[in-house]
Subunit: 206 residues, 2 copies
């Protein structure tokens, strides 16, 4: 495509590098920005530059943060003896949104995915294991995706945590609230029967 | 949503102002940028700032340009006596892509759309009419969308150009190449019969 302007071409190229954005969408976004006031387009550009330059990662859990320790880890009202292991910060946001969890997190920064060249060495596993040195951790909750890569990572972590004699739990796999039984896949349905829970637990978590 | 970082929050907010991008997509894009090298994220932000700050609009046709006169208007091999009137630069790109047009353009910067508060005064109509002062224009082609607003704008322009005694044409409305007759709407089908063209014209534009 000939854009008639190298500035537009460059901006379209940059936008179309983002996941899920093709050349056509990129052009639409660029034309939208051109129609904005200069101060607004500048604010947008500066927000992106600042984001990457000034972002900090929590020294304890790896969460994004404006300070050296994130809001969750510095919250004394939370239970620091329970650590929930997640893949990335989106999972933290999702779990926080439920308002059901009062422990802290450990963000791996990915999952073991050999097909994409991601091995255990690329993840924040050592800093997780270092937490067990003080005997303050009472439980580790594995909250990874229920994919092959997620299950592999969960198993790998379980084997690594086992020698530290810290109880490891995994979030329940089962039928989603609102799902109809007849449309649920076999594996999930089988797991939901094997991992059945006392009916009282349903009553208390309502 | 609690992002845990004001930088992320700000970036998500800026992204979700773009058309067709919601909070969830914005967060996905922001996390993608966080995973990039700092130099890449900075290049992205700078491309946007530069785009809006340094962009120029062609003094003759209103097209985006790196210089005061765009590539098309400064091309001496093009026919400057034919002016194709379009809504925005995407239309220029689309027409250029066909490689069938060798005249120049005039970009209105929108169409008359009273529902969204856009009147003739908001469009570059005066600079179009000023082009007729020199008697060098032999034809004006109206290439606007086939919507109610597009048709209204075409009619408005026709009435404004009429006193200058410059021939005005409009791009053909008809059945798109590849369309099946039975699925074409009545108005288009009726127009395609009224505006039927000599069969030879099909043979020469192949």
């Amino acid at each position: 495509m000939n854009f008639g302007s190298s500035l537009v071409e460059k901006a379209v190229e940059e936008f179309s590098r983002l996941p899920g954005i093709g050349k056509r969408t990129a052009l639409r976004l660029v034309l939208h920005l051109l129609n904005q006031e200069e101060v607004e387009a500048t604010a947008f550009g500066e927000a992106i530059i600042k984001l990457r330059k000034d972002i900090k990662y929590c020294e304890q859990c790896n969460n994004i943060s404006d300070l050296d320790i994130c809001d969750i880890c510095s919250d004394l009202h939370r239970d620091h003896s329970i650590v929930c292991v997640v893949e990335d910060i989106r999972d933290v946001m999702a779990i926080e949104h439920t308002q059901q969890y009062r422990g802290v997190y450990h963000i791996l920064g990915g999952i073991i995915d050999p097909m994409n060249g991601i091995g255990p060495g690329d993840l924040k596993i050592n800093s997780l294991l270092a937490k067990f040195a003080t005997n303050e951790i009472k439980e580790v909750i594995l909250a990874l995706s229920s994919s092959m890569e997620g299950d592999t990572t969960s198993f790998y972590l379980y084997k690594k945590i086992e020698p530290h004699q810290v109880p490891v739990t995994i979030i329940a796999r089962g039928i989603a609230v609102g799902d109809e039984l007849e449309f649920v896949d076999d594996v999930t349905l089988a797991r939901s029967i094997i991992n059945r829970t006392p009916y009282e637990s349903v009553l208390t978590t309502k």
